[in-house]
């Protein structure tokens, strides 16, 4: 293993790459241990998919930093010859687009059936808007995409609001203790992650120019909330094995 490889995968961002790799290993181990019917249950399958997908694209990001030629050729494929060192295309596709859709699907699985149609429409509108903005050149895939991020984050926050309204109105939720529901902790983590990402997306580049220390603190908040969300998802996968701590989801 070369030094560059170790740096790209482990030492460049050790506070992020090592915890998420560990979470993935724990997640895979727990998921294997789950009974068959639980593995097919969307409340455990989807958090597992999100966990695997998030760790996969973070490692792919590390790989693009290790294999510069690969990154450069993908950038060239998307028409970006000006900034060959950027791997924003990966972040845009994985986190801002596919990630948003996966989180919306996760929220959808916890809300009452008639509200699920709203989330279906939101996913459809999000996909169409993202494609239009990208193909029209308004927000190229290889540059920062604030509009797509803002639409996605707003939809996720709206989805979380739908969940919380169900939590305080639906009899199935009212019969349960929210602190014993993994969905409650997932929504709380998601709501914090996306709210604080707003500030990061607006102010990060500016802060790095004028006050790099504060910029890095702000970025760390986003990173730690990302780890926290993945940790909550890992615990959600493990929840059937912890019946004394967590209750069954009503939907």
């Amino acid at each position: 293993m070369s030094d560059r490889f170790i740096e790209a995968f482990f030492t460049a961002y050790p506070q992020y790459s090592i915890p998420i790799d560990l979470l993935l290993l724990i997640g895979i181990f727990i998921f294997i241990k789950l009974p068959k019917e639980k593995k097919r249950n969307i409340h455990f399958l989807l958090p597992f998919v999100i966990l695997c997908f998030s760790v996969f694209y973070q490692n792919l990001g590390s790989y693009t930093n290790y294999n510069y030629e690969f990154k450069k050729s993908v950038n060239a494929y998307f028409g970006n010859t000006e900034y060959p060192k950027f791997n924003l295309w990966l972040f845009n596709i994985a986190e801002r687009q596919v990630g948003t859709i996966l989180y919306l699907m996760l929220i959808k699985s916890y809300i009452r059936p008639f509200k699920r149609k709203i989330i279906n429409w939101m996913i459809f509108i999000f996909i169409v808007t993202a494609l239009v903005l990208q193909f029209s050149g308004i927000e190229p895939i290889y540059l920062n995409q604030p509009i797509i991020f803002a639409i996605g984050a707003n939809m996720i926050l709206f989805g979380c609001a739908l969940y919380f309204t169900d939590l305080i109105t639906h009899p199935s939720y009212l019969n349960r203790n929210p602190l014993r529901l993994t969905s409650f902790w997932q929504m709380t983590a998601i709501i914090f992650m996306f709210t604080l990402s707003y500030i990061s997306s607006v102010a990060l580049i500016y802060l790095y120019e004028v006050n790099p220390v504060l910029g890095s603190v702000l970025q760390s908040i986003g990173i730690y909330l990302g780890i926290l969300t993945l940790a909550v998802l890992t615990i959600s996968i493990a929840s059937p094995l912890l019946p004394n701590i967590f209750d069954k989801e009503p939907f």
Partner: protein, 251 residues
């Protein structure tokens, strides 16, 4: 303080504000959930107590009716048979003595049959179809009017509380028809419409105006009773045009 410092403070303040806002939101949701949970519990207890009260009332009413029926039977039937038996047994003729013993045997079987009616266990042993059939036969045997029963599907075994309410409601509807409508024909149909189990009770009697207050209170009572078991009632009637009642059974 220069403009750059101002902007940094704004960013710090915004981050703290949004973080605080989200924390407050989540904590508020938990508190509202607790509050609503308590309200919901209280409401459920109230519904349960109302349900129990209704059932108790219905049991009392059925017992009252049963006692009236038993009293009538004792006076009109068993009393007569015993008087006859006394006469036969008082005679010196052996054939009269034999007839007297047979009458006593008849009295014993009549008393046995009556004793079964004294508690509500018969409710469990009888199906709704059988009950309706018995009631219609009783009406026909008085020569009051003709009756028909059409059962398109089996209602199956219903829980005792549902059965009690249905029996009482059907009894009330048939009594009302006989008392107030003077019909020539009463027909009952049991059928299923798009997964909804229905009992249709139709008479060609005088009919009435359901919007009138005098008839409304009785109907309201029937409706309330059906609602306690998760069912419903719909009444269509007008003066001179008979009455059509649909009982919608809970699924």
């Amino acid at each position: 303080m220069n403009p750059t410092e101002d902007q940094i403070y704004v960013i710090i303040f915004s981050t703290l504000f949004l973080g605080g806002l989200m924390s407050t939101f989540v904590i508020a949701m938990v508190f509202i959930h607790r509050q609503r949970q308590a309200q919901n519990k209280q409401k459920l207890e109230q519904i349960k107590s109302e349900h129990e009260k209704t059932l108790l009332n219905i049991e009392n009413e059925i017992q009252q009716e049963t006692l009236t029926y038993v009293g009538r039977e004792l006076h009109d039937n068993i009393g007569q048979l015993l008087s006859l038996a006394k006469l036969y047994l008082g005679s010196a003729k052996p054939e009269k003595q034999t007839e007297g013993k047979e009458t006593i045997n008849q009295v014993i079987s009549e008393v046995r049959a009556l004793s079964k009616n004294l508690n509500l266990d018969w409710v469990e042993s009888i199906s709704i179809e059988e009950f309706i059939s018995q009631q219609l036969k009783k009406i026909e045997s008085t020569g009051y009017c003709n009756t028909t029963l059409e059962s398109e599907f089996e209602l199956g075994e219903l829980p005792k509380d549902q059965k009690l309410v249905l029996i009482r409601v059907i009894q009330e509807i048939l009594n009302n028809a006989i008392k107030h409508a003077s019909p020539d024909m009463i027909s009952v149909r049991i059928w299923k419409d798009e997964n909804l189990k229905k009992i249709e009770l139709k008479d060609n009697g005088k009919g009435f105006d359901p919007s009138l207050e005098s008839s409304g209170s009785g109907m309201f009572n029937l409706k309330k009773r059906m609602e306690t078991i998760g069912g419903d009632i719909s009444i269509t009637s007008s003066p001179g045009n008979g009455t059509l009642i649909h009982l919608l059974l809970p699924n």
